[in-house]
């Protein structure tokens, strides 16, 4: 037990929390943007997977981590375009389309992996690149904070910046106002000449960009190879974090960190002698519990809002 506590209260644990939170945060922010625009993105998982795969393959063939990252983001966007085309233009149910996208990415990456690496499991035969690690001057000299915050791969910092940018975009720009309007009442947006499809497409593309970053972090930072289905549900956890965070940027960040801690914890406890299966189930079980608790509060809140909008006279009377 003391061994466990020691592990948890170490700087290396906090460091690993940041590391495992990053892909969750990317996914959660992507989920947040599309959710607020009224398009629930179940396909985050597939978008990340495509990003992770493209990053590895392109960096291996071009010998450039940067081009790999560009390819990861581009493939996230490509997946978003597919999702958008089917759900918005061809009116496929967005959830089914998301599921299909995940299947597509899961099967497609293995299919392509076999073509390029002649292996259906991992890409270790490819000499792929990893993203550079960033040592932050001054900060890295400070005890405790230095070992926690410095020396991560570049995407960890990109994720932190992305959280701020997403907040600014959603709440301080005209585009963000339109996005929220589209999500809350698409007819209202449509009636003033805002193209609902364009806004939702944009939201999905932002989702795709963020997922692409998340995928690149997994295969080019977290580890240095691609493995089949390596996202392992992180896209879904991101979605849950966004819901748990009350569909706000701040809440989403906090929930992502919370899930990140759970994830890091399971990695740590696994090295002790507790059956790893249970530990691995913990983040998912926590999500279900959190979801239930959250949904309970949320339905009450929603019922209240619905009543308000149905009976506006009440307020005035």
């Amino acid at each position: 037990m003391s061994e466990m506590l020691q592990a948890i209260f170490s700087t290396s644990f906090a460091y690993s929390v940041l590391r495992v939170t990053t892909p969750l945060l990317f996914a959660a922010l992507g989920g947040l943007v599309s959710d607020l625009a009224g398009v629930i993105n179940i396909g985050l998982e597939g978008m990340m997977l495509a990003g992770a795969f493209a990053g590895v393959v392109v960096s291996a063939f071009t010998h450039s981590a940067f081009l790999g990252l560009v390819a990861a983001v581009a493939s996230g966007v490509l997946m978003a375009l597919i999702l958008g085309y089917f759900s918005l233009k061809l009116k496929t149910d967005i959830i089914l389309a998301g599921i299909a996208l995940n299947l597509f990415a899961s099967g497609g990456t293995v299919f392509l992996l076999y073509l390029v690496a002649h292996d259906k499991g991992v890409s270790t035969s490819l000499a792929s690149k990893v993203l550079p690690q960033v040592t932050i001057p001054i900060l890295d000299k400070i005890p405790v904070l230095g070992p926690i915050f410095s020396g991560h791969n570049v995407l960890v910092y990109v994720a932190m910046i992305a959280a701020v940018v997403v907040w600014y975009y959603l709440y301080r720009t005209p585009a963000g106002l339109r996005l929220r309007a589209v999500g809350e009442n698409p007819n209202a947006a449509d009636s003033v000449g805002i193209s609902v499809h364009r806004v939702q497409f944009t939201a999905l593309i932002i989702s795709g960009i963020l997922s692409g970053f998340g995928g690149a972090h997994l295969s080019m930072g977290y580890v240095s190879w691609f493995a089949r289905d390596m996202t392992a549900g992180r896209g879904f956890i991101g979605l849950a974090a966004e819901a748990l965070g009350g569909r706000t940027p701040v809440g989403t960040v906090l929930a992502s960190v919370f899930f990140g801690i759970a994830d890091a914890l399971s990695n740590y406890l696994q090295s002790l002698s507790i059956p790893s299966e249970f530990i691995q189930a913990v983040p998912y079980a926590l999500t279900v519990i959190a979801l239930a608790v959250y949904a309970r509060q949320q339905t009450r809140k929603r019922a209240r809002l619905a009543k308000l909008s149905q009976n506006p006279e009440k307020k005035a009377a």
């Binding site: 301080r172 339109r178 309007a181 809350e184 009450r300 809002l305 308000l308 009976n311 006279e313 009377a317």
Partner: protein
């Protein structure tokens, strides 16, 4: 005469096969207030949606300011100075009024949204057109009348010269309607042209210069308002004189089938929306509750029928205490309910007529003679009710959503009445229903009443509530503010005063309306 807008030969067929417009010609002169009238389903709204680019016609041309115009989307309409205020407001409830007004035309400072400019622009516009609003209030917190002003401001913000108002008074109190008309006249004097959709002839007479009448998707005629009488216009609308009076058999009420005692309801917001309502409905009588919508009627009805639990008070239906019980228990006590919104509560649109007719008795012994549902019994019941309630359909196995509004309402009525209820709670039973079906539903309601059922009728349609009820009550601000033991002795004007809260009776607590 000058022509601002000319729509010629407009055809519109919806994907479900409903023909909404057939060769409609429609023209508007600059600077006039033009009323577009017709019954529900006459195709007025569709025609205006085509004008605003929300629907694409299968045929026809639009000429605006002398030039042909293809209106592919609302964007095109707005760019050409056409604005529309929809029947269901197109507002974003959680955003402020200013944000709603500038949405799509947001002022910027650098990359950011300029909130201060949005507020000042809204204030200026409101002052110029005499449509006062508080720009920083959230839309979800303001009354309907204000929301409508926001809608008009939105259109004006976009430089609308031709303004389309789709049944703007449907949700307004008489006072708000007066305010609206004053604002419209001011807009007209400033050179705006207005198309005003309505089926309230009095309003049409008051506000419009010309009237275009539509019926069943076709143009019937255009006339100067000043030279036509209400009766003329109504004849054009329905093709015959409207029956304004219902023959109501005299009644000798029996025992109370509904006793409501001090019912209160506090909404989650903490606001009390039903404030201690008490009354009785006796067997064989119709008690009408008049009132402007949103004065607690919906909550009261939902409490009486089991859709909502009261915060305090008792509900005794057919001798059983059903306070806080669910719909099933209330139904078992013998209560039938015609809900306010038939597509939400009244039917499952994708279900067949048969399936909708058995919804309240699907688990009865009669339909489940052995372990399984008897398809034969279901089908027999369906055939019988379709015939008895004159539901116009090819087959009882047709999905309900393929029927017209009136026939859908007949499906609801058939199910509710055929259960032989001791009490019928009818909330807006003929809203959006054609004249034929309205008459039929009224007739059936009175028949059931004559056979001994008690009827609680809630309607915002004064004509309906006055002509059907034996006794009348008025609800205002969550309370019963007036009771008239003999409905025939009340005038519309007098009711109006109570409905608007100008007058209220002194009623003994606990014995109101009993």
């Amino acid at each position: 005469m000058d022509v601002l807008l000319e729509m010629k030969g407009i055809e519109k067929i919806y994907p479900n096969g409903v023909v909404a417009n057939q060769g409609v010609d429609f023209s508007v002169a600059p600077g006039e207030i033009h009323a577009l009238v017709g019954e529900n389903g006459a195709g007025k709204t569709t025609l205006m949606k085509i004008l605003f680019g929300l629907e694409q016609p299968e045929g026809g041309t639009i000429t605006y300011k002398g030039k042909p115009l293809h209106i592919a989307s609302p964007h095109v309409a707005i760019a050409n100075g056409i604005g529309m205020v929809h029947q269901h407001f197109m507002l974003v409830p959680s955003l402020s009024i200013a944000e709603n007004v500038v949405l799509g035309l947001e002022p910027k400072r650098g990359l950011s949204f300029d909130w201060k400019a949005a507020v000042s622009q809204t204030e200026e516009l409101a002052a110029r057109y005499n449509l006062p609003v508080n720009p920083t209030a959230r839309v979800q917190d303001v009354p309907v009348g204000t929301r409508q002003k926001v809608e008009i401001l939105k259109a004006l913000m976009r430089g609308a010269e031709l303004l389309v108002l789709d049944e703007p008074t449907a949700v307004l109190t008489p006072q708000e309607t007066t305010e609206l008309f004053a604002a419209l006249k001011k807009l007209k004097s400033q050179g705006h042209t207005i198309i005003f959709i309505s089926h309230k002839l009095r309003e049409v007479k008051e506000i419009s210069d010309r009237v275009t009448v539509m019926r069943a998707g076709r143009l019937i005629g255009v006339t100067d308002t000043a030279t036509a009488t209400e009766r003329d216009i109504s004849r054009m609308m329905v093709g015959r004189d409207v029956v304004l009076h219902v023959d109501k058999p005299p009644t000798t009420p029996g025992d109370a089938v509904l006793r409501v005692e001090g019912v209160r309801y506090v909404a989650d917001t903490g606001k009390e929306v039903v404030k201690g309502v008490s009354f009785e409905v006796r067997a064989g009588e119709v008690l009408g509750i008049a009132g402007v919508e949103g004065n607690g009627q919906r909550e009261l009805v939902e409490i009486l029928t089991g859709l909502r639990k009261p915060s305090a008070g008792r509900v005794i239906a057919a001798g059983k205490n059903v306070t806080g019980k669910d719909c099933r228990a209330v139904r078992q006590a013998g209560v039938g309910h015609i809900p306010e919104d038939r597509m939400t509560h009244g039917v499952a649109g994708l279900g067949t007529i048969e399936e909708n007719l058995i919804a309240d008795r699907y688990d009865s012994k009669a339909l489940n003679p052995r372990f399984l549902l008897s398809l034969k019994s279901v089908s027999e019941l369906g055939k019988k009710l379709v015939k008895e309630f004159d539901i116009r359909t090819q087959s009882p196995k047709t999905p309900v959503k393929m029927l017209s509004g009136g026939n859908i309402q007949k499906v609801v009525v058939a199910r509710e009445f055929s259960a032989n209820p001791k009490l019928i709670v009818a909330n807006q039973p003929t809203r959006g229903v054609d004249v034929g079906a309205t008459e039929f539903i009224h007739k059936k309601l009175l028949e059931n009443c004559a056979e001994g059922a008690g009827v609680l009728l809630i309607s915002a349609d004064l004509n309906e509530v006055m002509s059907l009820s034996h006794r009348l009550a008025v609800m205002y601000g969550g309370e019963i503010v007036a009771v008239f033991p003999n409905a025939d002795e009340v005038t519309e004007e007098e009711l109006g005063l109570y409905m608007l809260g100008v007058k209220r009776m002194k009623l003994a607590a606990g014995s109101e309306a009993s």
